[in-house]
Subunit: 344 residues, 2 copies
């Protein structure tokens, strides 16, 4: 039996979107118990007669807002939906939590309340970014840690390797380092040092990758620091939204545009779907000592459902144990690197 | 009379693309003298009977390759086309140089051979990134300096302010700091410090901006470090190329696609043109003590022509003097900040 804590108060479309997804998921995943946290009256209203047996409700009306300072908010609001979800995981009442709330606050709750895996100094947010070949690429860190060291980046690579092997069934994931050029000597100080560490590791490190090639699907995992990764994520999203909005205008504003839409609308929608965040679900905070998933802040019910599905798979595949093993191997294979050292 | 040095050996389509652009530019800009540097026989062959009177040729067959280590290459290859162009600017034989070669090598030649403006520790590469409102945004630094300090970022803002005021005729440019959130407290250590410096400056600093909003045209200038800026530039380009390639496939593979292309092909091409790098020309290295322009490595003749046009405008508008004044004001307005201090 898997137990999942669902924060029904975070994100732009809460609680409607998470509740719709939850009801669907609870019906479909009968091996999973869902503890949904939020305004009980509203949750029962939205769940209606449908609220399945494997759904339990924990009431709160405290929420952490998107613009609150994460660490302070987590410390001051133990009764917020987000902190309650993390506490359930910390107490082993739940295996995994899912929230569409404040990313920094989820990271803070993951680190301070649930804790870190042995050997992990900094967890990393690891979403799958859509690529043009349709495979997608695991990008980490997408915003959990702002000033990452080269050692942190190496840890991200070890965790991503284990995650991608077991979740995406890729035997030897191609791991690349996001950089401004493909030559070995490129990059800032931290990235150059990370290149050296990754080159010495037993991982399938394929070297530096430029952002252009990343979108073409030339790697399974792309490692970068949380500042860069977050910029990448938001830029990719912004450009996708902007271009598809422009295409929509072309296909709706004129009669010839509407005729063209009849001819190719379906294929363009398929193309858009390949580029849709909702299909790629949520993103795990790898390195947290319990399942900890972030759903996109503007998740609709579909995106929420995919995030719940992914979080369930994380536990069903025993990823926490596999990540622990991977971090153990990392410390064996690079004996000189001590935790916490090498911050540059 | 403006004198421009053109490196006819750098870039993917050299010397054909720069020569085609040069012949057009020389005919159109009769107030400008062009010194074109490269293989003289090939240049005369491409120029043919057309080589106008205001074009002078300097022969070399030495080129700096894309993968050479920049500083070493610049030091060891004084007779390369790129270094010869920079030397002409350093000796005041030319006002401005344009090259589509190795970005790092242009930066090295600009800094080591031409030198920096008074008060500038690090020049910045400042391209205009297309935005969905069609106005474009000046992004800097796009890759000149990898480990920039907060003081460097502040200097970029001062230079960009002067540049955008005079080149794009925007009276009080909206200057934003690229960040992972809009709240004041967001970012890595350098960005947080830069936020404080920018807030205290007399510039029209509108605060942090996320990559998503940047693409919507919410700022005239976006400041970031060279690592992040280069990733942004290449990602935007990669996504644009990928999506338009997918659209092309939809519009050419099937009969209904080809019919749709007849109906909306022109409008989609216009949309694509707005997103086309070629139309936005080259990018100046702001802070070099002489005109120093980078044309995109894959510039075709059109992109080359736009880069030449932009470089000419830089000199015609006396931008070098205006940037010098701006840097002077910057040191008056922030008396406590000494050059070279504040590297974090």
């Amino acid at each position: 039996m898997i137990t999942m804590a669902v924060d029904a108060m975070g994100g732009d479309y809460a609680p409607e979107a998470p509740m719709e997804a939850l009801c669907q998921a609870a019906t479909q995943y009968t091996d999973t118990k869902f503890i949904v946290i939020g305004d009980e009256a509203r949750i029962r209203e939205l769940g209606g007669a449908r609220l399945p047996d494997n759904v339990e409700v924990r009431h709160t009306d405290v929420v952490i807002a998107g613009d609150e300072e994460p660490v302070r908010a987590v410390r001051r609001k133990p009764n917020s939906s987000l902190v309650m979800a993390a506490t359930l995981v910390a107490n082993k009442e739940a295996d995994v939590m899912v929230s569409a709330g404040n990313t920094g606050a989820i990271m803070a709750a993951g680190t301070l309340i649930i804790g870190r895996l042995p050997g992990v100094e900094r967890p990393a947010l690891a979403p799958i970014l859509p690529t043009f070949d349709g495979r997608g690429v695991l990008l980490l860190d997408a915003g959990a840690t702002m000033d990452a060291s080269a050692e942190n980046l190496l840890s991200y690579a070890y965790m991503a390797d284990a995650y991608v092997r077991h979740v995406l069934d890729i035997e030897k994931p191609r791991i690349a380092l996001l950089n401004v050029g493909t030559e070995d000597s490129k990059g800032n100080a931290v990235v150059k040092q990370a290149f050296a560490l990754l080159s010495q590791s037993p991982l399938n490190f394929i070297g530096n990758i430029e952002a252009r090639e990343m979108m073409a699907g030339c790697a399974d995992v792309v490692v970068c620091d949380g500042f860069v990764g977050n910029v990448v994520l938001k830029l990719a999203e912004g450009i996708g939204l902007g271009l598809f909005s422009d295409i929509r205008t072309v296909l709706t504003q004129t009669m010839s545009g509407r005729l063209a839409a009849l001819l190719v609308g379906k294929r363009l929608r398929q193309m858009r779907a390949r580029y849709d965040w909702a299909e790629h679900g949520g993103a795990p905070f790898l390195g947290v000592n319990g399942g900890c998933f972030k759903a996109h802040g503007s998740s609709n019910a579909r995106a929420w459902f995919m995030a719940i599905t992914q979080a369930r798979k994380f536990i069903a595949n025993d990823l926490l144990h596999k990540l622990t093993v991977a971090m153990g191997e990392r410390h064996v294979s690079v004996p000189n690197s001590e935790l916490g050292e090498g911050r540059t």
